[in-house]
Symmetry: C2
Subunit: 372 residues, 2 copies
């Protein structure tokens, strides 16, 4: 089990400059014409073979197969898509891939794309300013894509996206519906209402929401659902704090709240912010969950190992990534449309960070304790 036992794998300089198992390095890759010559047939016969045409005499077929194999032929997709006018490449745009949600999403979409025979080009938009986004999109628009998927959507992106003529089908994922929608939360089984219901059942009446950045539609949806549900159930909202998805933003926002801290339940718009909020609460001298319950959204893999382990809404990012891709494929080729998979509804994972509401307002103004 010690690392010295591992087979020593050459790690660096993996390009084979010198010799290769097969295929001459400098020679151009073989084309169907080369294959045709080698097999003694016309290039069109080779093309037909490659496209799966049935009516080829067994003898001819055998020679083509032999030549194909001898030369190590690989089709040139560039040429194919130039002629056929269709490409098998889908562009996907995303912002912060280091967040678990977007990245799971992208990964699932990528795999779904591959299964459908497409390759997913993932494009990172680093900047929030419209000009930078536009230039990235322009580059993208030249790439001969079959369709374009916008995975995480800020308003800037949505705006630029909608004003760009990509000339191919595009789809903007909103990531909202499965989590909680204001107008439809009589469906009490859905996402945020479920989380709030859990806390309300535990006796909580005074809530605080740590929201994501307001230019993200996902954040806005979560905030709306929170407020809607507060109103619907007649609960008290102690406020909505503005975060930016990061633990840091939530930590600072919660730390900066004036005393007294009246809420007994905190709903953070993602797990990272729940983490930051928990640390700030602990540093204010509040115990979790005895004094304050904290609930997150996403269920990132680490959430179960926070201290205390986080109660959170599990979002099925993978299935929603697949679903958006399928939806886009349906736009690209309505004939191939399969009924898009329905993303699984968010599921509440109850862990130790939520518990019964305290009998009375927790003490405030106690000396700050260090954690544990």
């Amino acid at each position: 089990m010690t690392p010295t036992e591992h087979p020593s794998v050459p790690s660096a300089d993996a390009r084979g400059d010198d010799e290769r198992s097969r295929g001459r390095r400098d020679a151009r890759p073989p084309t169907i014409y080369d294959v045709a010559d080698a097999a003694g047939v016309s290039h069109q016969t080779v093309s037909r073979y490659l496209r799966g045409y049935e009516g080829i005499r067994p003898a001819t077929r055998a020679r083509v197969e032999q030549a194909l194999d001898d030369l190590g032929y690989r089709p040139n997709l560039t040429a194919r898509s130039l002629k056929s006018g269709r490409s098998l490449r889908i562009g996907a745009l995303t912002h912060e891939i280091s967040h678990v949600g977007p990245s799971r999403n992208a990964q699932a979409a990528s795999i779904a794309a591959r299964e459908a025979g497409y390759v997913l080009d993932l494009i990172f938009l680093d900047a929030h300013d419209a000009e930078a986004i536009r230039s990235s999109l322009d580059l993208l628009a030249q790439q001969d894509l079959a369709g374009i998927l916008a995975l995480s959507s800020t308003d800037e992106m949505t705006r630029v996206f909608e004003s760009t003529d990509f000339r191919v089908p595009t789809l903007i994922r909103t990531e909202s519906d499965e989590i909680g929608r204001a107008g439809a939360s009589e469906l009490t089984g859905v996402g945020i209402p479920k989380a709030i219901g859990h806390l309300a059942d535990l006796g909580h009446r005074d809530f605080l929401h740590v929201a994501g950045p307001e230019n993200w539609s996902a954040a806005r949806n979560r905030t709306r659902a929170f407020e809607f549900e507060m109103a619907r159930r007649g609960l008290r909202s102690s406020g909505v704090l503005a975060g930016d998805w990061s633990a840091r933003s939530a930590f600072e926002a919660v730390a900066a709240l004036p005393d007294p801290f009246t809420a007994t339940a905190v709903l953070a718009a993602n797990d990272q912010m729940a983490l930051g909020a928990m640390l700030a609460l602990k540093q204010r001298g509040l115990r979790i969950p005895e004094d304050v319950s904290v609930v997150g959204i996403d269920d990132i893999p680490e959430a179960a190992y926070f201290d205390p382990p986080l109660t959170t809404l599990r979002i099925d990012f993978a299935s929603s990534g697949r679903a958006s891709l399928q939806e886009l494929l349906a736009l690209i080729d309505p004939a191939l449309a399969t009924k898009p998979e329905l993303p699984a509804p968010a599921e509440l994972v109850v862990r130790a960070s939520s518990g019964p509401a305290p009998a009375r307002t927790p003490d405030v103004g106690e000396p700050v304790r260090t954690a544990c």
Copy 2:
């Protein structure tokens, strides 16, 4: 500040089936021939203009520009790369993008690629089995790429990668050198030696390492550096636990350790595992950092908000992603080779999870406490 004040941005159905600001939906995109017709010149003149040829009469030039603009011309990169034989697309392979390291890496590489005029195609390899990897690579090999970059490398991937003939330059990133190398750690400023030095300075003598999966070269390198440094400094290693990068694996490994727990310092191969290890330690009744110090690697954004905040090695993933891309670009076109950026050395970020070694072996066998 309430969400209802946000401008209402249309969120769904962003494809414009009906009308578009410009550009007819069904019409093929304009080609240089269309532009040439509109400008009353030959297509070659348009092509020359686009390639930046100087010797075009101002009057002609103006008409071309006008036509270009009127038609909203965008070059067709497929055709361009078919003819010119070179593509501006780079493939990048990665495993678990949801880990911060790989994803930052990929993001930085993507941005660097764009700056060099390339587009980075990110391919997710979900499976660890060689056959699945091979089929993905085969698909990739047809994609007319200028080069291929393997970002996170497991042994399976390395093996398949090296036995595939991509016919373009390829580069496997090893992610090891800047973190700690066994053979070269007399450079005491480097990564893991730095972390261990910090703990040794605090009086720690008995260490535990929570390693990443052994088929990842990065994990192996970290383990080697740990063991090398233990030996070099004459410190005691209480063992190397096998983890899989996840908080869960570290939690379970540490929880399963037999009593007594003798180590006073734990080095985890990434921050997620440090998190899992911390929770397991706390549940064993050990205090952090009074009884045991814990140090991670990566410095994920959440690490500062763990409880206690995590001392960790900050890895500059962005710069190493850029560096690998530049290295690949140099292979693609040696003429354009810039001196590749050197990734910043890992930097130790000291937070509250590390402290002086306890005077004696901490108590073990105490009743398990619930966290906090």
